[in-house]
Symmetry: C2
Subunit: 266 residues, 2 copies
């Protein structure tokens, strides 16, 4: 999917919502356990109920790897169920030496037809570039993450700049706003404005709204650029909005309430 197409979808749907599919057998409604593949059924019903309100789905690969080869089958079938025109994002946080990153790139962006994959930057250039070689696909580099542990290393300063800024600025030399995004956690609204100063054009994938407590208004005010420039992810607040039979309906309500705010910024 090209940047132009992403922006078109955002404007058409009046939404820059990404829905995380971190589907956990211990958290999905009990009545689904009668299905042969409860997680797949859960994902399908969530997708059916929300696909007109979001521009992206983001399965978290850990939740599928947990079940080994069977989990991968669930992942493959989930991807196949996502309607065309929706950005399919593998939240995998991979990153390895060049020849290995090349394998991960093929696995997710070619063989599984994801549009994008999240990548961890610690290993630098050759861990990132192989993902950029596949046309119309995206690498989404961890810049500033939403979790508590982000404070351990990402805020360390080197030459008066935090490490996350070094990461973003260096990676901007490798990828362009047409094939690279950055993860910027919603829990750090206070630095969104600073980051937009040195990274004005790239899209940001923003996790941390909802269960993690990020404020959609603030991050939209400080994070949007002329092309919107944001995909804001919510997971638990949407997919686990209800533990009952009405889970898909309640998920839709949650997505609608986020979109209501997003309309203000498009």
């Amino acid at each position: 999917m090209t940047r132009k197409q992403i922006i078109q979808h955002i404007k058409k749907k009046k939404s820059y919502l990404c829905i995380g599919l971190d589907s956990d057998i211990t958290k999905i409604p009990r009545h689904l356990l009668k299905y042969k593949n409860p997680i797949l059924e859960f994902n399908k019903q969530i997708i059916d109920a929300t696909h007109d309100l979001c521009v992206a789905y983001k399965p978290n690969i850990a939740f599928y790897e947990l079940y080994g080869s069977k989990g991968w089958q669930t992942l493959e079938k989930t991807i196949a169920h996502i309607p065309s025109g929706i950005f399919k994002l593998a939240d995998a946080k991979r990153g390895d030496i060049g020849n290995t990153s090349n394998m991960y790139a093929k696995a997710f962006l070619e063989n599984m037809d994801f549009d994008a994959i999240t990548v961890a930057p610690y290993m630098g250039e050759d861990s990132i570039k192989p993902f950029l070689e596949i046309k119309n696909k995206w690498v989404i580099v961890l810049g500033l993450t939403s979790n508590q542990g982000s404070k351990d290393f990402q805020f360390l300063k080197s030459n008066k700049k935090p490490i996350y800024q070094h990461v973003i600025e260096k990676c901007m030399q490798y990828g362009s706003p047409e094939n690279m995004m950055f993860v910027i956690g919603a829990t750090h609204e206070e630095v969104f404005r600073d980051i937009r100063e040195f990274c004005p054009n790239h899209f940001f994938l923003v996790p941390g709204v909802g269960a993690q407590g990020g404020d959609l208004h603030k991050l939209s005010q400080f994070g949007c650029n002329n092309d919107v420039g944001l995909m804001v992810n919510a997971t638990r607040s949407i997919i686990y909005a209800s533990p009952e039979k009405d889970f898909a309906e309640k998920a839709r309500e949650e997505a609608l309430s986020l979109r209501k705010i997003m309309r203000l910024y498009i």
Copy 2:
């Protein structure tokens, strides 16, 4: 596997060799393509020919994910083929927020029965701790990697210390020498001595010998501690030692020649 057991195996086998199983369909001998699962057959023959010479096998997960659910089946069957008493190391370089790292920990250290998993440190504390909660299992944190891109961020200095030192010192607060190792690339022999000064007791997993050019003598001189304290990995130089029918025999010869050097340091 406990630290004590690892050291016993190293002393008994006179080897601290780890063999990487980055098995690539385009690189394995042609005659194996007639098998139903050529990569599994390749792995089995490599394991059968080398298991008395090494203390660990390290499948690189990317090479299995490339084939989706089928690749995971190959990985599961490969693990099942490794004899007991050998350290099974998932080179996965995972790392995510706490609840997700917890899933990866279960996937690799419980469901698949790996002894250890490599983890990327960028996301800090909660991306690492969940892996430490499983008894007699290991987390192997990326400290200083062997690749070219390691120069991008790992050598940046903050408070006069390189980032890799911040990572290692901080992670030493989370894990002990009984459940945490660090990846230190063989291509940085010049800093092995420095790293041993602030991290004397932990085991190091050392990639980069062989195809990547690291010097086994130097890194053993500077990297060994009283408990040996090293697992040195070689992959391509061993598993692709020959593209012919004698590949397993030649792999054994390569492993033998590395062990010959290792005997000097045990």
